[in-house]
């Protein structure tokens, strides 16, 4: 959990960026997908309603042509004298019957041949004579037909052509029929002498429109009572739906192109066309959802959108990951730098911005380092001049004491010794007045030491003996001036306060790549922590004290070089000076910074 939080925090830039991108991609895609679907739906519905309106018109024409045929046939039958005569005759002989049956069939044949569609034609007389043009369609008996409600209704409305629905049943041999009926009346008396039936099987009526229907696009034919008398949806035939009828009427009367309705438990687009001659409505119900689903593959659009989203998200992921990764790496490097290494430049990689940033950072780092270096250099310079000043301060006491000694020697006529002392003093002074960082050979240093010792012994006697032990292979090595002398001086004046006599040993040897000089006395010894307190007395040859030596060596050569003092009370003190092996004049061999790397550069010298 904590890890996760941590990961999120470190990746917060990426997370934020990525989230924003993803959300916007999804939002855009979803919006576009929906609007595409909606637009295509609307466009489709629009087109559909136009096409279906045309289709409805064609269906309407079919029905109208049918109703025209029916009306035409009705008029012909009504006007046919033969039919009328035969229907009104009772109790005829075989001969008369034969003749009249033949004649009426002949007449009906002529009339019927104008009647298209698979309609039948039946003429029924009040005398219960029945003539059926297509008994195969409907082999109804005269009695059954005569007593059927459709005949009664026809009798009640003798002047109208009625279109009546007859549900499937024994009466119709199990077929649904739409029967156009008309009472045949005598024009003078209005007496009904027979009935004309033009039955059409629902199956045949359906052919008027069935070709235009499809799944989800159904056609219903309703009569004026709201009863569905024909439909490509078999299950609906015979049902009565007043609500649907009302909507159909409304749509038709208001001249609406289409209406959205909810019937039979579904949403439909309803188009309608009225057939006033038949007192019927042709209703076209389009199951929007189904039809659209069939034509507009929503699933596919959605799948494509999802694919696009995934693709885009993937690309966004890769791109933003690359951008934020390089930034993040930069940040990590910079924060690590503060912890560990200030000199290491950051890696200039990644995106353009990250590169530029890293570059600028590195540039700044370099500048900073240069500045620091310069600062250090200035410091060292200052220190050097301080040391130089100290070095040049030849202690007046020393000169005074030396000269006093020489005076006494001359007075005692020890001319030789006086001369020796002066000879020793001269190179000593000469040496002390040079540059602080000038080096001299070990041999010269030994000479200097000897001179210094000679002067001191002249002055203070010879209770303290100085031995020098120099490895012969070291004589040609160089070392800075006044490195060993302060320790000998120190030993002379401070190591033998209790013991009045003893030895001071000076050992110089090469140990591996170092030149090691040791000043060992057999004096009183001391505690290490007392070393600084002795500084107070300034009976020094030059301003450079024991303490300065260490500082100076490190300043010149680096931290692994320097002075190490070990001491034991009453046993003596041992000073170990570690120096590099310098072959040449020291001008070339000093170091310029506190790094361990020896740096060869002429500009360091002054």
């Amino acid at each position: 959990m904590k890890n996760l939080m941590n990961t999120i925090r470190t990746n917060s830039l990426f997370v934020k960026m990525f989230l924003v991108m993803v959300i916007s991609i999804i939002a855009v895609t979803v919006l576009i997908t929906f609007s595409t679907i909606r637009m295509s739906n609307n466009l489709f519905m629009e087109t559909f309603s136009i096409t279906n309106t045309k289709v409805l018109n064609q269906i309407k024409q079919q029905f109208e042509s049918f109703s025209y045929s029916v009306a035409f046939t009705t008029i012909n039958v009504q006007d046919n004298g033969t039919i009328k005569r035969l229907l009104t005759k009772e109790n005829v002989s075989s001969l008369e019957a034969s003749n009249s049956f033949y004649t009426i069939k002949e007449q009906m044949d002529r009339i019927f041949s104008n009647n298209p569609n698979d309609a039948n034609m039946i003429v029924l007389g009040k005398n219960k004579q029945l003539f059926n043009m297509k008994y195969i369609n409907w082999s109804v008996s005269a009695d059954a037909l005569f007593d059927h409600p459709i005949t009664k209704k026809t009798n009640d409305h003798p002047d109208e052509i009625l279109y009546q629905f007859v549900a499937e049943g024994e009466f119709t041999n199990g077929r649904r029929m739409i029967v156009a009926t008309k009472a045949l009346t005598e024009s003078s008396t209005d007496n009904v002498y027979g009935y004309l039936y033009i039955p059409i099987r629902e199956k045949d009526l359906r052919e008027f429109y069935e070709g235009y229907t499809s799944e989800g696009n159904s056609v219903l034919v309703m009569n004026g009572d709201g009863q569905i008398i024909s439909s490509n949806q078999q299950g609906l035939i015979g049902k009565t739906d007043q609500e649907l009828l009302a909507v159909a009427k409304e749509t038709d009367e208001n001249g609406l192109e289409y209406q959205d309705v909810h019937v039979f438990g579904k949403d439909y687009m309803l188009l309608t066309s009225s057939l006033p001659a038949l007192d019927m409505y042709v209703v076209n119900l389009v199951d929007k959802e189904l039809v659209i689903n069939n034509l507009v593959d929503r699933k596919e659009i959605v799948l494509i959108s999802i694919a696009i989203v995934l693709l885009a998200v993937g690309i966004v992921f890769i791109i933003s990951r690359r951008m934020t990764n390089s930034l993040q790496r930069l940040v990590k490097q910079i924060s690590d730098m503060a912890k560990y290494d200030f000199n290491k430049p950051v890696d200039e990689s990644g995106g353009y911005e990250a590169k530029k940033l890293a570059h600028a950072f590195n540039y700044m780092l370099n500048e900073l380092q240069d500045h620091v270096r310069n600062l250090l250099k200035a410091q060292r310079k200052q220190r050097k001049s301080e040391l130089e000043a100290l070095q040049h301060q030849i202690n007046p006491h020393f000169l005074y004491n030396t000269l006093t000694s020489v005076k006494f020697l001359v007075k005692e006529n020890k001319k030789e010794e006086a001369l020796e002392t002066i000879d020793a003093l001269i190179p000593l002074l000469q040496n002390a007045l040079g540059n602080v960082d000038e080096t001299i050979t070990v041999e010269q240093e030994v000479t200097n030491i000897k001179n210094y010792v000679l002067i001191n012994q002249t002055r203070y006697g010879e209770q303290i003996k100085v031995n020098t032990l120099i490895a012969p292979d070291c004589l040609h090595f160089h070392l800075p001036k006044l490195v060993i002398q302060p320790f000998i001086e120190n030993a002379f004046f401070h190591a033998f306060t209790e013991k009045k006599q003893g030895y001071i040993q000076v050992l110089i040897a090469r140990r591996e790549e170092q030149l090691v000089c040791e000043v060992v006395d057999t004096g009183d010894g001391m505690r290490i922590d007392q070393i600084p307190s002795r500084k107070g007395k300034r009976q020094l040859f030059s301003g450079i004290g024991v303490r300065n030596v260490h500082e100076r060596i490190q300043l010149l050569f680096g931290k692994e070089y320097g002075v190490e003092v070990t001491s034991q009370l009453n046993k003596g003190t041992k000073v170990k000076i570690v120096l590099p092996l310098l072959e040449e004049d020291a001008k070339e061999n000093t170091i310029s910074n506190n790094n361990t790397k020896p740096r060869v550069s002429g500009e360091e010298n002054f």
Binding site: T29, K105, I136
Partner: protein, 433 residues
Amino acid sequence: MNFAHWKKTGLLLLSVVTLLALAACSSDDASGSSDGGNGEEPDKITAWAWDPNFNIAALELAKDAYEEDLDLEIIENAQDDIVQKLNTGLSSGSMKGMPNIVLIEDQRAQSFLQSYPDAFYPIGDYFSTDDFAPYKLAPTSLDGKQYGLPFDTGVTGLFFRTDYLEEAGYSKEDLTDITWEKYIEIGKEVKAKTGKDMISLDPNDLGILRVMIQSAGSWYVEDDGKTVNLVDNEPLKKAFENYKAMIEADFVKANSDWSQFIAAFNSGDVATVPSGNWIAPSIEAEESQAGKWEVAPIPRLNLEGAVNASNQGGSSFYVLNIPGKEKAAEFLGATFGSNEAFYQDLVLDVGALGTYAPAADGEAYQAENDYFSGQPVIADFSEWTEEIPSVNYGLHTYAIEDILAAEMQNYLKGKDIEDVLADAQAQAESQLK
């Protein structure tokens, strides 16, 4: 900016893909319904027939009896529709929507075979023609090739009400092997004694005339099937006279359609029904009259060579020359063409009497029929079948009959018989030229 570009491309891609998908869908639809006439062997064999109680039931029975796996779809169409659709389809040369098997009435068969010789598939190799009644072979073959597989015989009989006849003083013997003159005589007696009409006729259907003339081996055309043979056709003249005599005897109940014809005897209004054997199930449908019916041989014309056997209706199966023809022919050959056991079932279950001679020895054929007072009706019919004179129905049976029906009315009104036939001949010749 990058992303805006991406989205644009995406949208473009989306619309392109959508378009492609839609295009793919619509092309699917287009290719789905192409269903040519010369295509592959179809999985389904279709058959057209018209009577659910008779020939369709027979097909169903055959389908069950057929041992091999066959997807047979039987489609019911009115006979007139079948004739019309066949004419429309075959004359257009496109066999699209045509069935593999179609039932055609024998008297119409020649007109199809001769008009569309290439549309039918000869099936003589799928069964033995010798097994079938010879009178069925002439109308179902052309130029020596057998195209039709005989289905039912139209052998006729005189169905009569024993009770009415008895009341008038006649027994079965009095009705056996009589002439039409005798029949009319009896009819008058029956009408007088019982008040019942002797027969029901549809003035528009001269089926009774055809029954009469075939019993004398004559037809509307000569043996070539084409030459109109009305004038000087002695059997036809006799038939006309008999018809008029019946009408004038006033014992004819006129009907105008099949259902009225059925109603005429089911209601007990008529005493006899001279008809093809296929009327038996309709008679038997009126159970209250069980035991009151028997069948006598059909009366004959009072002419030399006339027999007491004739034919009315009867149909045969034909195979259309479209993919699936071999399957269809094999099916017919294995059932209607050679399966004796199947014929027994056919007689028992459907009441359809075939013309397959080997089947006549079967048990079912010998069975006594309780409805007909224990008469072995099937056996009798089978016997009469063998006597039916063979005639060539030719092409124009119904066209000529329409002319004759009109002339018949004139004849009934008093026109001279010679003039009637001469006029009919002239009309037919000019119409059929």
